[in-house]
């Protein structure tokens, strides 16, 4: 949960500086993956393993303590079930949602919105960043406009999108796409601009043409930051989805929550929140897997 909202807020709340969040959460990703370690591999390895173990314990300990405090608040502190249902009640509600198919249906609908919205935003953000990052004219035309729109609160667009697209799927998909465009654009643009000029010079003297430079030097060089942008984009996408569904929808996870809220089914609210956090973890996992594959060359850079 924390991972999701933290990241989503970093992206959305945002409206400020995506750049500042760049590289967020990447350090642990490459830790302990250094097969090419040059200096005293065994000692380094064990030190890293110890650290990993420690951090894993803290990772497990936090949620466990939270769960304990929660259970205590209910059983010892007699928190009313309408405000804070017991963990067991939440699990029960979750099972019911699964059994009666409500969760599955909502999940499919919401996931579809997110996937389409993210696709739309990634394509739009990437195209804009390529045009802006690779050509001077593009930068002059596009960059100021993007930064102008970026400062607009995303959710404020919902009313106008409803006017344009109605209350159907399009408005939600476009809203998610809009929100996703910015972290993708800003990170890919910065990645393209940040490619080492020495490598560009080397590429030139090795005989790479403009297209070869883009394909073999600029895009691979910008890839790490693009993936950072993608991770932020996924966080933002769930946040926007929920907001859009809670304000204006008759289906999906957000609708499930707002419906439960009006019926005072606190256990259902908690159950859906739990699903959200799992989705956040899942989307993070997907990006990490992509990173591991696309940035395999970088794991070897730990010791440099």
């Amino acid at each position: 949960m924390t991972a999701l909202t933290g990241e989503a807020l970093a992206g959305l709340g945002a409206q400020g500086d995506f750049e500042l969040v760049v590289g967020h959460g990447q350090a642990p990703l490459y830790e302990g993956e250094n097969p090419g370690s040059s200096a005293t591999p065994s000692r380094r390895g064990s030190a890293i393993r110890t650290r990993a173990l420690q951090s894993r314990w803290t990772l497990l300990g936090g949620p466990l303590l939270l769960l304990l405090a929660w259970q205590l608040a209910v059983t010892v502190g007699h928190a009313p079930a309408t405000q804070l249902p017991a963990p067991s009640a939440v699990i029960k509600a979750l099972r019911e949602l699964i059994a009666n198919g409500q969760l599955g249906t909502a999940l499919v609908i919401s996931a579809r919105r997110v996937v389409l919205g993210v696709l739309l935003g990634v394509v739009a953000g990437s195209l804009l960043a390529l045009a802006s990052g690779l050509t001077t004219l593009g930068e002059r035309l596009i960059d100021p406009v993007v930064h102008m729109f970026r400062t607009m609160p995303v959710l404020a667009l919902l009313p106008i999108l409803v006017v344009w697209f109605g209350t159907g799927e399009e408005a939600k998909v476009v809203l998610i796409g809009w929100a996703v465009t910015f972290p993708i654009y800003i990170n890919l643009f910065a990645g393209i601009k940040g490619v080492d000029p020495k490598l560009l010079e080397a590429g030139r003297v090795l005989g790479l043409g403009r297209l070869g430079q883009i394909r073999q030097v600029i895009l691979p060089g910008a890839m790490p930051q693009f993936l950072t942008g993608l991770r932020m984009a996924l966080g933002v996408s769930w946040l926007v989805l929920v907001a859009a569904e809670e304000i204006n929808a008759s289906s999906g996870l957000g609708y499930l929550i707002s419906n439960a809220s009006s019926l005072e089914q606190t256990d259902v609210i908690f159950a859906v929140l739990l699903v959200y956090s799992l989705l956040g973890v899942l989307s993070d996992l997907i990006v990490r897997t992509v990173e591991r594959w696309a940035l395999a060359w970088r794991s070897s850079y730990v010791n440099r």
């Binding site: 590429g203 090795l206 073999q216 890839m223 060359w297 970088r298 070897s300």
Partner: protein, 258 residues
């Protein structure tokens, strides 16, 4: 500045057997080359020819313009005066290896080559510099010496007529540097490019080069053809002292004090 890409000039002078052995055809011709940055003149009126098969060391203090000249020969500098004619087949190795970190070693060797270039070509080039075993490694896992070997393989696979080396051994430890000197000597003897080695290391210049140029005060102040005897021993020391003087290391005051 006019950079002319063409077949190298053939020396007009008749080639005696001795001349053919010691100096090959002219590969690079520089006439009246000059370069200023923001009004400050770095180089002016530089005339120099480089011949096939010779290993020329270009010595100079920091900021003397030696790297500027190298950049001009690599075709990377458009804002200069004078006439520079260089062959199209040229290769550059830098102080930092500048391998693309996202390409495995063998793919780095092939960067920029025509489509037909195969892995086995890269392997042959890597074999020649003694590092074929690391062909599938990521550049990030190589040591400094290994990375420079790959950079040399990447340069020599292009069969350059002109090889430009910009302090390629500057960042290596002393032992590795000596090994790399030996390797470079072998590679140059086999492929016989005209080689311009930019360095600030006088000993490197003395032990490696057939010819030593010193850049000082914006022009080439010394053009010395090294004899075999000058590579080591007493004569090498004499040459070394002369070069250091030329580079202004021994200022008159410093000499008076000793």
């Amino acid at each position: 500045m006019a950079i002319e890409l063409r077949e190298p000039l053939v020396e007009a002078a008749p080639r005696t057997a001795r001349a053919a052995r010691s100096r090959g055809e002219v590969v690079v011709r520089v006439r009246g080359y000059g370069r200023a940055f923001a009004g400050r003149t770095v180089l002016a009126g530089v005339d120099v020819d480089l011949h096939q098969g010779e290993l020329v060391a270009l010595l100079g203090a920091s900021g003397s313009g030696k790297s500027t000249l190298l950049r001009a020969l690599s075709g990377q500098d458009a804002g200069a005066d004078g006439h520079v004619s260089v062959p199209r087949e040229r290769a550059v190795a830098f102080q930092d290896h500048r391998l693309l970190p996202w390409k495995r070693v063998w793919r780095n060797v092939l960067v920029g080559l025509p489509r037909g270039a195969q892995k086995r070509d890269a392997l042959r080039a890597l074999e020649e510099v003694g590092i074929a075993a690391r062909a599938d490694a990521w550049p990030g896992t190589l040591s400094g010496g290994e990375a420079q070997r790959v950079a040399l393989a990447r340069a020599f696979i292009r069969e350059p007529r002109l090889l430009l080396l910009d302090e390629p051994f500057g960042a290596l430890d002393a032992l590795t540097r000596l090994r790399m000197h030996e390797l470079l000597r072998q590679l140059c003897a086999r492929h016989r490019p005209a080689t311009l080695l930019v360095t600030h290391d006088v000993d490197e210049a003395v032990s490696l080069a057939d010819r030593i140029l010193v850049v000082r005060d914006g022009h080439i102040s010394l053009d010395h053809r090294t004899t075999g005897d000058e590579r080591e021993g007493a004569e090498a020391l004499v040459l070394r002292t002369r070069l250091l003087e030329e580079l202004g290391v021994y200022a008159p005051e410093a000499l008076n004090n000793t």
